[in-house]
């Protein structure tokens, strides 16, 4: 049994406000020209018409978070003895991600595995994840750089979301995919959506076809090991790369982090913050040695992680949702899609580079 | 640099006892191509009685006039009267350095003073802005009989920080101006000695003593007239000469001229135009033998006089060792 509701466009704001009363709502908001996932505030302008620059992952996995704060205290009897006070309470608000795209939802699914399917599940992440509901919007149009269908995702992919919303003339059909989703659809603002389901199916199908036309069918050919390990290949591929972290920080599936302690006199915090494998510092060792000293090796790791290593760990799943953000956001338009495709041929060069 | 136009504050004395100062100033500045614009509705500068009673009032009175001038195009104010001048300069300094005072004063005024007016004595304007050369070039008449003692009085160049003009103890501007007009200037030691004018009423006998001392020194240095830049000095030395003679048994008959009058004569104006007839001690004998020279000759003699005075730094002083340059350099070498 699937519950469906219908949200009239003119009621969109009202609905989001209602959600906001229950939980912290993350939605794509307009900031001058850029569309960014941010906590919705009364003055926010929500923009669903094009994919956001950034992914919604920060809602569950913030750019930086305090794991715990600490304070050194002296034993009042004996100043030689130092006591440490720890505070690791995590206040987790209910969170709704509104207007994600299927590729965003896929991204979160990718991160989920990393933080849960391990011998040391991450309490901070999981606590937030448990309290998060994802409302995903069917992608009407492929955007520059989109290639989700090639990596087995799609503009109407429902598997990673709680609610699927599909745009129709004057409203959205909202289909609950999980019990979380159903709870969210419990709202007087919504009309019954059953009448619109057929229409929505159509829209979803059309969207899917458009994307196939644009990006092609899922490509399941395995990566060619020889090419993958060719130094030449990566040097050529990385030639113009600037080595910044735009791709990783915009990516919905990247989850690498760094942990640092920040202390001033007697107080301090342990910080966990995003890190990027494209940075030199990422693998810099205390000795000063760096196993990935050249950007070619760093690029190999980034793409290798998405198309090889992750799959090796989690039964063949590709850790890329084809959202194309890294392509659109890259100062030198590095194309992960092209490189990935080239990896599969036994060419040793990046196709399209000639 | 000569500034074409100045705001001209004559002040109360020049309306009355010192009218000839006012006349002569206007004449010579006209001749020197300087325009004087009188501020509308100017009032007391606050120098004398107010100054003694209430400094805020005195400041406000001065500031009122400054505020008026500030609203005229020309930024520089000139006044012949040293008393007015120091009243203005004091008010300006306090207004710009002490905000509390400025606010207090401005509360009393209908138009506030922002602190944008530069005040100069008319003597300074002629000496610095117009310049010796320009003055010399206007000279048409020589005054062979004049042996001048330049008397600057107590406040023209003091206090140094405020006056910021000439040497506080040994001023030389008038000496040079006169020299530039071909007048013989004597080395007068009491240039800035007090004549007592301010105490004319309460302490008469003291004033007579001081005045006598000044006049004696005038004779001692071989001068036959005193040239001044201050209406009070002029009035005091001129008006009281008879009293001094009576009280001290002296027999002075020393004409007391404004420097502007002497310049006026040198520029060829008549004593009547300049208002010399207003003087108590007659100036006739002094100027009887003045005669015009052919421009050619005059200019040449004046030129070298200018050079001479410029070179010496001060008119007529002895050159024996240790000469001034020597001692000057002495310490520089030391």
């Amino acid at each position: 049994m699937k519950k469906a509701g219908y949200l009239k466009k003119q009621k969109e704001k009202e609905f989001i406000a209602a959600l906001g009363a229950k939980a912290r709502v993350y939605a794509p908001c307009l900031e001058d020209e850029a569309v960014l996932f941010k906590p919705v505030e009364p003055d926010s302008v929500i923009c669903l018409s094009r994919p956001a620059v950034s992914s919604p992952k920060s809602a569950i996995y913030p750019q930086s978070e305090t794991l715990f704060s600490f304070r050194f205290k002296k034993d009042s009897e004996d100043p030689r003895r130092t006591l440490v006070e720890l505070d690791d309470t995590i206040a987790v608000p209910d969170t709704i991600i509104f207007g994600a795209r299927p590729c965003d939802a896929r991204g979160i699914a990718v991160i989920d595995r990393a933080f849960s399917k391990t011998e040391t599940p991450d309490p901070y992440y999981l606590a937030r994840r448990a309290k998060t509901t994802i409302v995903t919007l069917t992608c009407p149009e492929p955007s520059t750089g989109c290639f989700c269908t090639r990596v087995g995702c799609g503009p109407a992919e429902t598997s990673d979301s709680d609610v699927m919303m599909t745009e129709l003339e004057d409203g959205y059909l909202m289909e609950a995919l999980t019990s979380k989703g159903e709870a969210l659809l419990e709202s007087p603002i919504l009309e019954d959506g059953t009448a619109y389901e057929a229409q929505a199916k159509e829209a979803q199908k059309a969207a899917h076809e458009r994307m196939i036309k644009e990006a092609g069918e899922a490509d399941t050919t395995p990566v060619d090991p020889e090419t993958f390990h060719s130094q030449v290949f990566w040097e050529k591929a990385a030639e113009r790369c600037l080595g910044c972290g735009a791709c990783t920080y915009l990516c919905p599936t990247c989850y690498c982090f760094n942990i640092t302690d920040e202390q001033v006199v007697d107080k301090g915090e342990r910080i966990r913050s995003w890190d990027a494998c494209m940075f030199h510092h990422f693998t810099l060792e205390a000795s000063g040695h760096n196993p990935r000293a050249q950007k070619a090796l760093r690029l190999k790791n980034r793409i290798g992680h998405k198309f090889v290593y992750y799959g090796e760990k989690y039964d063949g799943i590709i850790a890329c949702s084809g959202c194309g953000r890294c392509i659109r956001g890259c100062p030198v338009s590095m194309e992960i899609s092209t490189i990935a495709a080239a990896l599969k041929k036994n060419s040793g060069t990046v196709s399209g580079e000639q | 640099m000569i500034e074409q136009e100045y705001a001209y504050y004559s002040g109360c004395s020049l309306e009355g006892t010192a009218s000839s100062y006012d006349r002569s100033i206007r004449l010579i500045l006209k001749a020197l191509g300087v325009t004087l614009r009188e501020p509308d509705d100017w009032s007391c500068c606050g120098s004398t009685p107010a100054h003694a009673m209430d400094h805020l009032l005195a400041g406000a009175l001065a500031a009122r006039n400054l505020a008026i001038v500030e609203r005229m195009e020309t930024a520089t104010l000139t006044t012949p009267c040293p008393a007015c001048l120091s009243a203005f300069k004091k008010a300006h300094a306090r207004a710009t350095e002490d905000r509390a005072f400025k606010d207090e004063v401005n509360q009393l005024l209908d138009i506030p003073y922002e602190g944008g007016v530069k005040a100069k004595s008319t003597l300074q304007v002629i000496y610095e802005d117009v310049g010796l050369e320009a003055v010399a070039s206007k000279v048409t008449t020589v005054l062979p009989d004049l042996k001048a003692a330049c008397y600057y009085g107590c406040i023209l160049s003091r206090p140094p920080r405020l006056a910021a003009f000439d040497d506080p103890e040994n001023p030389i501007s008038m000496d040079r101006l006169l020299a530039a007009c071909g007048v013989e200037v004597c080395d007068f030691a009491f240039k800035t000695e007090c004549c007592g004018a301010a105490f004319g009423v309460p302490k008469k006998e003291m004033v007579l003593r001081l005045t006598h001392k000044v006049l004696t020194m005038v004779e001692d240095c071989g001068a036959n007239c005193v040239v001044v830049a201050c209406p009070l000095c002029q009035q005091n030395l001129d008006l009281r000469q008879a009293q001094v003679n009576r009280a001290m048994g002296s027999s002075f008959s020393i004409p007391i001229l404004y420097f502007s009058e002497v310049l006026g004569l040198a520029f060829g104006y008549t004593p009547e135009e300049l208002g010399l007839d207003k003087h108590i001690v007659s100036t006739d004998a002094l100027i009887r033998s003045r005669r015009s020279k052919e421009a050619e000759e005059t200019v040449s003699t004046v030129k070298e006089k200018v050079k001479k005075s410029a070179a010496q730094g001060t008119a007529g002083k002895s050159g024996n060792a240790p000469g001034p340059e020597d001692t000057a350099s002495a310490t520089k070498e030391a």
Binding site: E31, D32, E33, A34, L36, S49, R50, V53, S54, P62, Q63, S64, E141, P142, S143, T144, G145, E239, R240, L242, G243, C244, G245, A246, T248, Y249, L250, N258, T260, E262, I271, S273, W274, A276, F279, H280, H281, L284, I327, G329, P331, V332, S333, E335, Q354 | -
Partner: protein, 317 residues
């Protein structure tokens, strides 16, 4: 911009260098990308149009060997500045200059076409023609040129061993060059503060601005990331974001050649180039210095005069 002439030059230059850095087609016509030519048969892939925004001189310091580089007016200043600071050897670089009528800002184009996916783009002398599924849009170059071009005083490269095209006269004089900054200066302190707080708030510290900057030579050693010295933490707070941008701006004092790459590279569209331009304006006023103009200038922060004509001692009030 004359592509044929350029190809010709590259053909003659290529034998004498190890690599020629130019542009080739990227994911779409609006996104040409830097390319590194080593063999003649790659030459035909070269493109040259107003969308060629990248400052290719940025790659020079990391190159060991002899290279030729295609530079616009603004980029050429980078070459000069790098040489001036001894970060490249002028004799190791063959400069191929392209006089420039002004580039296009992808950001401005997209907003002009309401962020529709671009199907096709072509350039006629002073217009850009964009095809989207909503139809064709003809945009005047002027309207979609990045701010740096609107204030450009060096459309013709200041150094060039070869010139691909006719010299272009600057349309801007010295005063108007900093107009934008002066107008911003005129805003109230609070406005300026609020403005930057909002802008910095978007920063994700991906360091694209830094890595795209041809004069950020610290690379791996950038103090925004090191622990020793430990100038800042990895917290994503306003303080840290602001601190980072202050570091970038101040380290570029008297060095920024205003190529605008930092701003273009920023995925969040933060106008970071302004910070450097403001300092440049002050450098010009204080020391009459403009970065990247003459090979034998000395960057003002690394020298001094015993008597500084323009620096007066400050009063507390």
């Amino acid at each position: 911009m004359n592509l044929e002439k350029l190809k010709e030059i590259v053909r003659t230059v290529l034998p004498s260098v190890d690599v020629v850095i130019g542009y080739k087609k990227g994911l779409d016509a609006l996104h040409p990308v830097p390319c590194f030519l080593t063999s003649p048969d790659e030459i035909d892939a070269l493109v040259l149009n107003p969308a060629c925004m990248h400052n290719l001189a940025a790659y020079l310091p990391s190159l060991k060997n002899r290279a030729a580089v295609v530079v616009k007016g603004c980029d050429s200043r980078t070459v000069v500045q790098l040489a001036q600071e001894g970060l490249i050897k002028r004799e190791n670089v063959v400069v191929i200059g392209v006089p420039c009528q002004g580039a296009v800002s992808v950001r401005k184009v997209l907003s002009a076409i309401d962020h529709q996916p671009v199907i096709e783009a072509s350039f006629e002398n002073d217009t850009v023609v964009i095809k989207t599924k909503k139809g064709e849009a003809r945009l005047a170059l002027r309207d979609v040129a990045p701010d740096k071009c609107l204030a450009c005083r060096y459309p013709t490269p200041v150094v060039a061993d070869h010139l691909a095209g006719e010299e272009v006269e600057p349309k801007i004089d010295e005063k108007t060059a900093y107009q934008e900054i002066r107008e911003f200066d005129a805003r109230s302190l609070e406005e300026r503060r609020a403005y930057w707080m909002a802008e910095f708030d978007r920063c994700i510290r991906c360091y694209a601005c830094r890595n795209a900057c041809p004069l950020c030579v610290c690379r791996e050693s950038c103090i925004a990331e090191t622990r020793d010295p430990h100038w800042m933490s990895q917290k994503a707070t306003q303080n840290e974001k602001m601190m980072f941008h202050m570091i970038h701006a101040i380290h570029l004092a008297g060095r920024c050649t205003e190529c605008g790459e930092c701003e273009r590279a920023c995925p969040m569209g933060i106008p970071v180039a302004r910070l450097k331009k403001k300092i440049n304006m002050e450098m010009k006023e204080l020391f009459g210095y403009e970065p990247g103009i003459s090979m034998d200038d000395k960057p003002p922060m690394y020298t001094f005069k015993v008597e500084e004509e323009k620096i007066e001692e400050h009063k507390i009030r």
